[in-house]
Structure formats: C-alpha cells, structure tokens
C-alpha cells in the first residue's frame, strides 16, 4: 500500500525497462504516446518506436506483420479504439493466426473521466475475452502492471492488457508474483468472497475491512487474469464461503462478473452479486464522481456483500 500511480504510468516505465533487456521488443502507438506513456519507451529506444498516426486498424495489422517476422510488438492506444475501432483486425489479423502481439490499452473504463462516454471503454474485457487465442489481463496496480508486461513479453501469443488513466493505490508489495491463470489472495475470509479486478481491487480490500466490523468475514481475490481465469480459486471460494461478489469498472455484461458466473454455474452454483456498469453509457465527470454515481465504491461492495450473504441458503 502507499503511493498512487496510474497503471499506464507503470506501463511506460515497465516497457522502457523491458526494451532495455529485450531488443526484439518494438512499440507502436496511434498518436497517443504521451497519454499511453509509450513515449517513455520512445525516448529511450527511438529506433524501435513507431507512430502509425491516427489509424488503429493499420496499427493492429502492422503489429501482426512485425510479429509474423519474429518481433514482439507492444501496441498502445485507448481501450476504446484498440478493441472497438480495430476489433476485427485484432480478431482476424492477430488472434486467428495467433500472432505474438501485445495490446496494452490505456484509458479503460469510466475513470477516463471528463472525456465522457465516447472515450470510456466499458466493453473491452467482454470483446477481448470472447476471442479465441487471446489472453486478457487487468492489473490492479503498478506492481501488477509491471509483472503483467514482463509476463506478456515472455508468453508467445496475443495478450490484451487493460490499463487505466487515473492513479490507483498500490495493492501489492515488491515480493508479489503475478501468475497467469491464478488469482491473488489479498484477504482471507469465511462468509463471502469478493472477486475484483483493476481499479476495484483497492476498494474491495477496504470493503473487507469494513465488513469485519459488521461481523462478516470476507475473502478478497484479485482476478487480474481474466482469461485464462482461475477456476480452482473461484470454485474453492464458492465452497469455502458460499457467496460471491464480483466488482469491475466495466459493463455488467460479459466482463469479470460474467466470467466468474460462468465458472460457478457449471461447477458450484452459489448466490452471486455483480457490481459493474449497469448496461448504460458513462458521462463526463471526475473519476471519483463517476465511480460514486455508477455505484462502484467501497460502500457499494459492502452493501453487495451483505445482500449476497443474506441470500445464502439457511443450513
């Protein structure tokens, strides 16, 4: 815990560091390098940085070609454009041929803030998760971001990494080790499990602290690895605690909550409450005001946990 850093800031630093170590890494951006922080890499490795201009479809295709020729391209733009504007290029030029492209998309979710709904990607987890061969990671803080970037560079195949604009508190200590397909246990508990990703992980942890004083013992899992998802951890959570709350800064349709529910319904059905954006577009506002208005807060998690506990069958 401690200092606040946006995951996009951590990405820029991690990418520069990765570039120092791995000469095969190349970085592409679509005229947003100051915002996505690929400019940190560009400054250190100008010969391996390529701006494609405001042309996201070509961005994905060029990355595919670089990967086909043995490079490890990291491509960045806002999540809206990476997954929306260029969806079919990601599908047909990257995922179908299973090319080694890493899409690190920033400004995901409502916390883009003042730019408003046109720039707030609340669908990206859903539309990347549905693609065969795609790995989807939503880091919660700077430490996890760095580890996810290092993982992506080593892993062979397409990876989507969802990053945010706004500063988030550090959740993990230096000793943390991100593992693909594995949830990270932040707090253990017996009455309910809160499964969160991205910006919702820190509030989930605080919610668990609040719940203790109200007599509810909550387990908190960070599910950065959305695909592959940690089925064992979800099933164990259902068996051990009997109730699940999911929270994500994403549409309630198709994201983390859906992924968790899919595992539960086929294995260990238990009461679930899902917190997310309720099938609506966002709007302009500060990130904090938006999270409050759209019910993505510590208080909302506490309320959802109480509700889901009350839905547990009486033994």
């Amino acid at each position: 815990m401690g200092k606040e850093l946006a995951t996009r800031e951590a990405y820029g630093l991690a990418l520069k560091d990765l570039g120092d170590r791995n000469k095969n890494v190349v970085v592409l951006d679509a005229d947003l390098s100051k915002s996505t922080k690929t400019n940190v890499f560009a400054k250190a490795h100008p010969d391996r940085f390529f701006n494609v201009g405001i042309a996201e479809q070509n961005l994905m295709g060029v990355a595919a070609g670089l990967a086909a020729a043995g490079k490890i391209p990291f491509v960045s733009t806002f999540a809206m454009f990476a997954t929306g504007r260029a969806f079919e290029q990601v599908r047909n030029s990257i995922c179908y041929p299973e090319l080694n492209v890493k899409i690190a998309a920033t400004h995901a979710g409502l916390t883009v803030g003042e730019d408003g709904a046109s720039h707030q990607s609340i669908e990206d987890i859903a539309i990347m998760r549905v693609l065969p061969n795609m790995t989807v990671i939503v880091p919660a803080d700077a430490t996890e971001t760095k580890q996810a970037i290092d993982f992506a560079a080593e892993y062979k195949g397409p990876v989507y990494i969802r990053l945010g604009r706004s500063a988030v508190p550090n959740v993990f200590g230096e000793a943390y080790e991100f593992r693909i397909g594995k949830a990270a246990l932040l707090t253990d508990g017996t009455d309910v499990t809160i499964i969160a990703c991205g910006v919702m992980v820190a509030p989930a942890r605080h919610a668990a602290e609040q719940l203790i004083s109200q007599g509810i013992s909550a387990r908190v899992l960070d599910m950065a690895s959305i695909k592959p998802i940690d089925k064992e951890a979800i099933i164990a959570a259902a068996r051990d605690t009997g109730a699940i709350v999911t929270c994500e800064e994403h549409s309630i349709i198709g994201g983390l909550g859906s992924a968790v529910a899919e595992v539960l319904v086929e294995n260990t059905p238990v009461p679930v409450e899902r917190l997310g954006v309720m099938d609506t577009f966002g709007e302009s506002g500060t990130p904090g005001d938006l999270l409050k208005k759209y019910n993505l807060t510590e208080e909302a998690i506490v309320a959802a946990a109480k509700k889901v506990v009350s839905r547990k069958p009486i033994k």
Binding site: V26, N58, V62, G65, A68, A69, Q89, S93, P97
Partner: protein, 280 residues
Amino acid sequence: MSQKLTPQQLTELARRAKSIRGNIVRMVTEAKSGHPGGSLSAADILTVLYFAEMKVDPANPKDADRDRFVLSKGHAAPVLYATLAEKGYLPKEELLTLRKINSRLQGHPEMKKIPGVDMSTGSLGQGLSAANGMALAGKLDARDYRVYALLGDGELEEGQVWEAAMFAPHYKLDNLTAFVDFNGLQIDGPISEVMSPLPIPEKWQAFGWNVIVIDGHDYNAIYDAVQAAKNVKDKPTMIVAKTIKGKGVCQMENVAEWHGKAPTREECTTFLAELEAMDD
C-alpha cells in the same frame, strides 16, 4: 536497363500458369464454391513472383530470410494454393480438398495450417498492413528479404488500405512491392459503378508510392516492374496490373458473376479443354 526473361523462362512460366489455372478451375468445381474469377486474373502475377522472382524454398518455409507474399485479397485463395502446390509446398491432389471439412485449405488462407502462407487473410483491407509490418521488421533486422502483397481493386474501397498506404512511404519501406489486381469488377458489378476507387495510379502516387502501370498478363511486364521496384530507394512500389477477371476461360472473362461461383462438372470439362488448348 530492363532485365528480360529468356525464351525458356517465358515458356516455363506459361506452362506453370496453365497448370495453376487448370487447378483453380478443378478445385473450385470440386469445392462447389469459391472465387475463380479473381483467382484467374491474378494467376500470371503469382506465377512470375513464385517462378521467376521470389527467394523461397518449400523445404524451408519459415526461413527468416525468405521473401514474403501476402494475399490481401484472400478470397483468391485458389490461386495461392494452386501456386504453392505448383511450387512444391503441398501435394497437388490435396487441392481438391479446398473448403472441405478437416482440410488445411480453408476458404481463405490460414498461415498456421499451410506452409508457404505468410499471412492469414480473407477479411479485405488487412493484408497491406501486415505486409507493412513484415517490411518494417526486415529493415529493423537489416535482412534483405522483400515483401510482396496483392490487393484487389474493389478492396481499395476499404479504409484500412489507405491507412496502410500512408504508412509505407512514411517509413520508407522500399523493400515492399504491392500489386493491385485491376480487373475492374467486384461482386456487385463494375468497380466504377459500385463505389469507384478510380483513378487508382494517381491515388497511390499522391500517397507517396512509386507507381508502375502494366498489363498484368504480360510476363515480361510483370517481371520488369518487379525489377524496377527493387531499384527504387526510400519508396514502396505499387504495381497497378490491368487484368481480366476470369482470364483464360472465355465464358468467365469479364463476367462479374464468376467472382464467387463454382463451375458445374460439365462447365469444368469445357473450361479445362479450353485452357489446355491455350498456347504455351
């Protein structure tokens, strides 16, 4: 200083092209679907590339130094498969499995399945971007391979083509040579009527490409243009190849309907006899 093909080479190319055309007709007939028109129009271009120009080795299809070919108009898969079979990448008998269940020969090319396919394509407008990436990687690694791409003229209606068109000259990708298979027809009719991409050479020139306009069925012209492109510095080359959709089969020539229709068995027999009677 044009480097001409020898009479022996010309005879060889004509023989290869005839064989490729015959296999296009056979495989599409057997598949009962597919795209013969745009495959036949591009057959001479692929023949010259694979049998007179490209550094490729069927025994080593992933060689890092090989020349690359991206069939951006991926629906012309039959011409690519027939050419790869002619070159020795796959058995010719396998061509008759086109579009059938469990076949490697998907309706549109898939690079993971077939040796010699350098990029999976099929959704129009995406191939030139991938060719850009391959050419850029060649520059970064100081390898001297060249990258070739073939686009349809109707395909030029896709916006991504023009994003890619901006990129290649900007990064001075003179190791990239692309073709437009300018046969003038798309599924719904003449390109000038459906949504005109004309004038084509002027557009590429305006985007900063070295542009050469040729007869896309003249082996010497194709070969010369490819050689000329290799001598251009700091610019990619676009060879606008004027072609005839369905070239080689009278009934198919310049008929939009043959864009995506399979011949019947009877038609196939007639078409093959006509191809066989063609001069070498």
